[in-house]
Amino acid sequence: MKIMGLILLIGGWLIAVAGLLITDATGMRMIMALVGFGTTIAGLMTVNKGHTAHAIWKGRGGLA
């Protein structure tokens, strides 16, 4: 899950930057940048999901 999140983070950035290279249209670049930024946020959530899967408060050790 954490690795998947990191891939989404880097992938989102690549999408945003790829917009610069594949088109000169500002509107298209804006869409690519928005999609890229959204993907990075999804990556952030995915990495976090990897951490909360084994969160300390879910354990049975009385540490909640």
């Binding site: 983070l9 950035w13 290279l21 670049r29 946020i41 408060w57 540490l63």
Partner: protein, 566 residues
């Protein structure tokens, strides 16, 4: 449309005496104005002459107060500071035009040096504000530990930044004319890809040695160093009350040496983000006047990465995932800290002109007012949100709202007008409350001081808001990031600027978070980030620091009813 005659008629009907008075005033204005206009108009018979150039002879003819006059004292200040105080290159030649011109140039740089240094000192004082806010929002049993993290991040961060961080960030930033050019910092490492140079990091100024031993470079170092330390100290709040001091030291030094300078270079050091305008016609490239992205979002992303890795405090979440409030111990510290930070922000934003003289730098007045307004509306927005949602005007969130507004206006402060600032600050005040709730309740990341929301979320909002609200009236020497004209946002006609800002945000989340996460995961692997459960329950003051913050207090272990001494 109402004609002038009709206006006079209407006025006459209402107040005849005022009409008479107005007629007299108008007549006298016309009688004075006519000859003035005639004199102003260029005469056809007399050719226009260029003003005579000032010569050295003119300068030598300037009378200066005598020593006897000055010996009598100068209570009115009319005699002190005259041509006699201009430094002469050669006393035998006397004062020359060259001396005067050189003095004017050096005065400009001197004003800019003093401005940048003093605003840098103000930013340094913000460390005290952060220390108070974070310690106040933590429990008393961790006061020493939290305060020490905020205190030592200054030294740890500064050392790493001096060794390599500054060179990576600013090593290729020659051409800052406000500070005399910074010509020794003249080498940027670039990759040539797809026909474009992508500036990645600077290579001059390591240890401030060699050519880095330069007065202008020193001023730049001091100013940039205190900015970096602001980013580093943001992290300590998110990981407070369970972060191992050794791990904190390593993490802070890595931030100061590696990922903060990298993004700083891309945005401020002539790197690839700043060149999106010149290379790809996206407005003026990524713009970040004082660092909503460079400082606050970098700090916020790092804080989020560390908070995820360290995990929530014991007792923060129940087994069903519902959060518990773990209130801080001193709200007076929190609000005093917020005021200190708001004061320091007058160094942060207006100081980012790197000068007060020339090149459009008089905009410092507008930048300071924008800063003030956004902070105020940020606290107002947060207060309103909390009052409506929970029925009480929450003090700590009002403080966070103030900081959120200030964080958000940091990037756009040099490019927006007061109305834009008010909107940006108010939105940030709302946004910080929503973000705190989302991160705590949905993502279940424990951030005791709300650092991720204040600096991360609102930092990103600040970066985007520049791309929306920049009004195209600023003029810092005619260009920005190598693109002529003024920075203009989407609402004022330049969608390209908004795209550049979006790419900056994608970089902050996609790259900077990832680097911070990977480095902190390595620290977790080799050193371990979190203290033991026993130490956390006892409070970190004794186990980590060897002394409690409040020795006279009898601290009770939560849930046990036993005092620590027992």
């Amino acid at each position: 449309m109402i004609s002038p005659n009709r206006l006079l008629f209407r006025a006459g009907r209402r107040t005849p005496s005022r009409t008479l008075y107005a007629a007299v005033v108008l007549a006298s204005m016309i009688s004075f104005a006519v000859p003035i206009r005639a004199a102003d108009a260029p005469s056809e018979s007399v050719p226009e002459e260029a003003p005579a150039a000032i010569t050295t002879a003119d300068i030598k003819g300037v009378s200066t107060p005598s020593t006897d006059d000055l010996a009598k004292g100068d209570p009115g200040g009319a005699l002190t500071g005259s041509a006699a105080d201009i430094v002469m290159a050669d006393a035998k030649k006397g004062l020359t035009l060259v001396d005067v011109v050189n003095q004017v140039g050096q005065n400009r740089i001197a004003i800019n040096f003093v401005w940048t240094l003093i605003t840098g000192y103000l930013v340094m004082f913000m460390q005290a504000g952060f220390a108070l806010v974070e310690t106040g929002l933590c429990r008393a049993k961790n006061a020493n530990h939290t305060m020490m993290m905020n205190f030592m991040v200054y030294g740890f961060g500064m050392f790493a930044y001096w060794v390599m961080g500054f060179a990576i960030q600013q090593g290729g930033s020659a051409g800052v004319t406000n500070l005399g050019g910074l010509n020794p910092l003249n080498n940027e490492f670039k990759l040539s890809l797809f026909g474009v140079d992508w500036g990645l990091f600077g290579t001059k100024g390591f240890f401030l040695s060699d050519t880095g031993y330069d007065v202008g470079v020193m001023v730049m170092f001091l100013f940039q160093m205190v900015f970096m330390d602001t980013a580093a100290t943001i992290v300590t709040g998110a990981a407070a009350e369970r972060w191992k001091f050794a791990a904190f030291a390593m993490s802070s030094m890595c931030l100061a040496a590696i990922w903060y300078p990298l993004f700083g270079n891309w945005a401020w050091g002539g790197g690839w983000l700043s060149q999106l305008g010149a290379n790809f016609k996206l407005g003026h490239g990524y713009c970040d006047f004082a660092g909503s992205g460079v400082v606050h979002a970098v700090g916020g992303m790092s804080a989020f990465a560390v908070a995820m890795i360290v995990g929530p405090r014991i007792g923060k979440y129940n087994r069903d995932g519902s959060p518990n409030a773990l209130p801080g111990h001193d709200i007076t510290m929190v609000l005093l800290g917020c005021f200190i930070l708001a004061f320091g922000w007058f160094g942060f934003n207006p100081g980012s002109t790197l000068g007060a003289s020339g090149a459009g730098n008089l905009r410092i007045g507008s930048i300071a007012v924008n800063t003030m307004l956004a902070g105020a509306t940020g606290s107002f927005g947060a207060l309103l949100y909390m009052w409506i949602r929970f029925g009480k005007p929450d003090a700590s969130m009002s403080g966070n709202g103030l900081l959120a507004g200030l964080v958000a206006i940091t990037a756009p402060s040099g490019f927006v007008n007061p109305v834009g600032s008010v909107i940006i600050g108010f939105v940030a005040g709302f946004l910080v409350c929503l973000s705190v709730e989302f991160i705590e309740r949905v993502m279940k990341v424990d951030d005791p001081v709300g650092a991720t929301s204040v600096h991360g979320t609102c930092g990103l909002w600040g970066v985007l808001s520049l791309g929306l609200f920049a009004d195209g009236t600023s003029n810092y020497g005619g260009s920005w990031n190598g693109v002529n004209g003024s920075v203009t946002g989407l609402f004022y006609g330049d969608p390209g600027q908004f795209v550049a800002q979006l790419i900056g945000c994608a970089t902050l989340v996609g790259i900077i978070f990832t680097i911070a996460y990977v480095f902190n995961a390595l620290v977790e692997f080799f050193v371990g980030q979190r203290v033991s459960a026993e130490a956390e329950l006892e409070g970190l003051d004794l186990p980590e620091m060897g002394a409690v913050g409040y020795p006279e207090f009898q601290l009770v272990l939560p849930g046990t009813g036993h005092s620590m001494e027992a």
